[in-house]
Symmetry: C2
Subunit: 241 residues, 2 copies
DNA sequence: TCATTATTGTATAAATTATATACAATAATT
DNA sequence: AATTATTGTATATAATTTATACAATAATGA
C-alpha cells in the first residue's frame, strides 16, 4: 500500500517544485518517474500540513528530494485552473496498470482525496547540483536531472509550470543575484557567465560580464584554479556576503 | 443570518484583493468596514468556488465590489503562514458584540469553516477610480478609498498584504506599462507622471518623463484639454493598443 | 630555451541611454 | 501688449552599456 499522505493536510492545495541545477553548461530540472507502466514523469511536489507554512512545506519537500536543508527558494505563481486535477492521470494509470493493481496499492479514501481539483503553488529552487543526491520516494522508479530544453512529457500542467518558473528565474537572475546558488562554494567567472547565458538564452561579452559582476562587490577573489591547460589560469571566487 | 458563502468552495483557501485607485495625486486602496462594533476594516476578499478558476474568483470578487467587469489584475503572492486564521478576529468580534449576537447572525457550521487556517492568494487590481461605485456587502458598514499612506488598521495580515502588493506594483509599473489602468480613457501626461511619482515615491523630471513615455509609442495624442488656466493647455492622450 | 597557443584580466574607445538645463509656444490675466 | 504659469521639445552633460584591444599567463613543443 502506497501512502499519499493525505490526512492532516490542507485539502485541494498542493505544492510543485521546479528544482533547477546546472551542469555541463546546461540548466537542469529534477524530475521523478513513477514505477508504474506508462512513463509518468512529474515535478517533485506534495501537500501542506496543517501545522506548517507553505514555505516550510516547500522546504520539506525539497529536503526529502535532495537531502539539502538550506535551499534557495522562490514562490513564483499559483496554478488554479478549474480542470487542474490528476483524475485523467489516474485514469490513464489505471488503464495501463489494471484496476486490481491500483486497488491493491492505493487506499480508496486517499485516492478520492487526491483526485479532487487542486490549486498548486509553484516554487522554484536553485541548488548546487554536486551536493544533491536525488532521493526516490516510495513510488518512484527514478529521479533524474533533465535538460530544460529536453524535458520528458510530464503529467498535468507540469511542463507549463517549468516554463513559468524559467520566466520567473530569468526576471530575477540579475536583480536578486541568485545565479551563485546554482554553483559550488567556489567557482570561476566563466561558470557564472555560462549560467547567465543559458538562463537568459543569449551570449554575453566576456570582458563586460566580468567587469559587471566584479563591480557588484559581492564576490571574494580566492587563489587561482589549476586547470592544467596551456593558458592563463582563472581565479576562483566565493560569494562574500 | 449573514451568509459566509462557505459551501461549494475550496476549503482553507481564500483570495484577498488590493484594489488600487488614483485620485487627488494619491494612491488609494479600497477597504470595506464591518457593521459590527469594533472598527473592523479588511481587504475585499472571498473564496474559490469549485467551478471557477482562481483568476475567475478574483474577477468575481472585484466585480462584486466595484461593478467593473474588465479589470487589470495581477496575482502577486500567496500568504501561507501557519497562524493565518481569523480566529482571533472572531474572538474579538464576539467579545465586543456579544455571543448571542454572533450566534444570532452566523451559522455555526459556517463559522467553523471560516475560522480554520486559510492560505490566501494575493491579487492586486488597478482601476479607473471614476468608474467605481463601491458596493457594500451584507455585513459592510462602509466601503471607502483610503490613502495608501494612511490606511486604517486592518484585520489579520491585511496591512502587510497591501505593503507586498505595493512592492509588486512598483516592480511592474515600468516593465508592464500598467499605470494607464489607473486613469480614465483619456488623460494628460501630467497625470501619468503623478502616478509614477506616487507609486515609485520619487520625483521625476517632467521633460525627460514626457520624452520617455512618448518614445514608447503606446499612446495616441488627441485634442488639447481645456483647463481654463492662464497657460498652455496640455494634450490629452489615450492608450493606443 | 623560447616561440606558440588559448584563455584570462583589464583597459580603453564607441555607442547608447539617462539626467539636467534651456527655451520657445501657448492660454489666460492684467 | 506685457505678464504669468505651464507645456512641448531641443540640446548639453553625465552615466552606463557595448565593443574592441592588448598584455599577462600557463602549458606545449620545436
Amino acid at each position: 500500500m502506497i501512502s499519499l499522505r493525505a490526512s492532516d493536510h490542507i485539502p485541494q492545495l498542493s505544492i510543485d517544485c521546479v528544482i533547477f541545477g546546472f551542469s555541463q553548461n546546461q540548466l537542469k530540472v529534477l524530475s521523478p518517474k513513477l514505477i508504474f507502466k506508462g512513463d509518468f514523469w512529474s515535478l517533485p511536489g506534495g501537500f501542506v500540513r496543517q501545522d506548517e507554512s507553505i514555505d516550510q512545506a516547500a522546504r520539506r519537500i525539497l529536503e526529502e528530494r535532495t537531502g539539502i536543508k538550506d535551499i534557495y527558494l522562490e514562490q513564483f505563481r499559483v496554478f488554479g485552473e478549474t480542470d487542474r486535477s490528476n483524475l485523467s492521470f489516474w485514469d490513464r494509470l489505471t488503464e495501463l496498470n489494471g484496476e486490481a493493481f491500483v486497488a491493491e496499492h492505493f487506499n480508496r479514501k486517499e485516492l478520492e482525496w487526491i483526485t479532487k481539483r487542486f490549486v498548486s503553488i509553484g516554487y522554484y529552487a536553485l541548488v548546487d547540483i554536486t551536493k544533491v543526491i536525488p532521493v526516490k520516494m516510495e513510488a518512484d522508479a527514478s529521479v533524474e536531472w533533465y535538460d530544460i530544453q529536453n524535458l520528458p512529457p510530464m503529467i498535468m500542467d507540469h511542463n507549463q509550470i517549468v516554463a513559468a518558473a524559467l520566466v520567473s528565474l530569468q526576471q530575477n537572475l540579475d536583480q536578486k543575484l541568485i545565479a551563485f546558488n546554482l554553483l559550488p562554494e567556489t567557482f570561476t567567472m566563466n561558470e557564472v557567465q555560462q549560467i547567465y547565458e543559458v538562463v537568459l538564452n543569449k551570449t554575453l561579452l566576456r570582458s563586460n560580464f566580468q567587469k559587471k559582476i566584479l563591480d557588484l562587490n559581492v564576490l571574494e577573489r580566492l587563489e587561482k584554479k589549476f586547470t592544467g591547460k596551456a593558458n592563463k589560469a582563472p581565479y576562483l571566487y566565493r560569494w562574500a556576503q
